[in-house]
């Protein structure tokens, strides 16, 4: 994000964020250090680390891809619907769709994609897309009338309205929708892996539980936590802080 460091208010903002970053990273380093200590003491000796690493990477890769697809589709659909005069018509339609129990749709995805990577990815897309879509649509619908009028008066009409008014207006909701969507996405990808036995973190913990290796499940969960934390600190926290400050009333 562009922010002039030269301004005194921005100086303070950057300083406070640098401090928060340092604290977060110290905390994370502590967690990783403790895990390494436990490992060297032999507490995780029964864990097949290369298998776990590959499983976590596979799951993360599927989630990242699913998120990317859901983000593009979700934002595009929400902006087009929000731009059109039919937003009120589409809202209940989307609401019904998002309330379909996603795991009940797994057989449908298997039917179309088989037991493949693509099946899990598209299944996850069907879960991640809704928080993004609803967050963006809701922001557009609830925007202050004056702001919308200002955009119209000063020329953001027709298709121009999407890139110059609706998209920047929706930016904070894209962030919050993404955060919720990714949380649901982890669940969807891992759940689908458990159900379908496709290699990944879900399958790894299922096998670990079945064979009674509890440490493997704990180590796997810790690994996912570290990834979530790092993503939060590197991407979401700074973007959210910036957006909250910029979009403050």
């Amino acid at each position: 994000m562009i922010r002039s460091v030269g301004h005194p208010q921005n100086h303070a903002w950057h300083r406070s964020h640098a401090r928060n970053y340092r604290r977060a990273w110290f905390l994370m380093a502590g967690v990783i250090g403790a895990a390494l200590l436990l490992y060297t003491l032999g507490d995780f000796s029964s864990v097949a680390w290369p298998v776990l690493g590959t499983a976590v990477l596979e799951t993360t890769y599927r989630l990242a891809l699913a998120y990317g697809i859901a983000l593009i589709i979700g934002i595009t659909v929400a902006l087009l619907v929000g731009w059109s005069p039919y937003a009120d018509f589409f809202f209940p339609f989307f609401d019904v769709l998002q309330n379909l129990p996603s795991f009940a749709l797994i057989p449908l995805f298997i039917f179309f994609f088989g037991f493949t990577d693509r099946m899990i990815i598209f299944f996850a897309v069907s879960s991640i897309i809704w928080p993004i879509l609803f967050a963006v649509l809701n922001t557009i619908k609830s925007a202050h009338k004056d702001l919308s009028d200002a955009a119209t008066i000063f020329g953001a009409r027709g298709l121009k309205r999407i890139p110059y008014y609706l998209a920047p207006l929706a930016y904070p909701s894209i962030l919050t929708g993404s955060i919720v969507g990714i949380a649901i996405g982890w669940e969807a990808v891992i759940g689908a892996e458990i159900i379908t036995n496709i290699a990944g973190f879900g399958d790894f913990i299922k096998t670990a539980s079945a064979t009674g290796i509890t440490q493997a499940s704990i180590a796997g969960t810790l690994a996912i936590l570290v990834i979530v934390f790092v993503l939060n600190r590197i991407i979401w926290a700074p973007l959210l802080a910036e957006s909250a400050k910029r979009y403050a009333e």
């Binding site: 002039s4 009028d149 000063f154 008014y165």
Partner: protein
Amino acid sequence: MPNNMTGTQQMTLVLSRVSARFADEEARGAYALKDITFGVAKGSFTSIIGPSGAGKSTLARVILGLMEHESGEIVRNFARPAMVFQNYALFPWLTALENVAFGLRMDGASLHEREHVAREKLKEVGLLHLEKHYPAMLSGGQRQRVGLARALAILPDLLVMDEPFSNLDTITAEALKTDLLKIWRSYGMTVIMVNHLIPDAIELSDQIIVMGAHPGHVEKILDVDLARPREVRGEQFFKEVDHLTEVIRTIS
């Protein structure tokens, strides 16, 4: 036809028996505005005043085509309208400079051109030093000035202002009012200001449209013939204030 109309050529705006209502009013048979008739002369300063619920802001939106009217006729002899909002309505994702340049950007002006004009307008309202600030970093008065600069940047032939001083403290409002008068004189554009302060309306306006409520309608149209610059402590000024206050009191 409007009572003060001397021919549509000299008029920026003419409304004849204009009625409008919101979607939820249709079922109840209610109107937000009913049979609004008046004209606004080119280059003049018109104030629209009246009690809450008189539909002043709705009328401003109808004038600018932001809200459809249901019946009646509107003759719009303006090509580039601009608006200044009560709540500023600045785009929070843009800096002060980018906000001012927004209309020019939509017109397809080059980056160099629009930044040049935007800086000029920010200088005019005394905020050039804050060009890189986002709206959240500005005070209410500063935001309103950016809003005014944004409107001026597109060289409007009609400037509609919806209660521009109502969220400002007295000192800031007075300073902005002085600037507004200077700007109006130098640009020669037509100004329509929705307002609820009687002295402001008399100090600034050539014509005052007094509106009544439920539904919003024109109660009275007053011409203000005081010489400019207006002496706001003068006897004639206070007489006009008293007269208008009495009119408002009667309709309230």
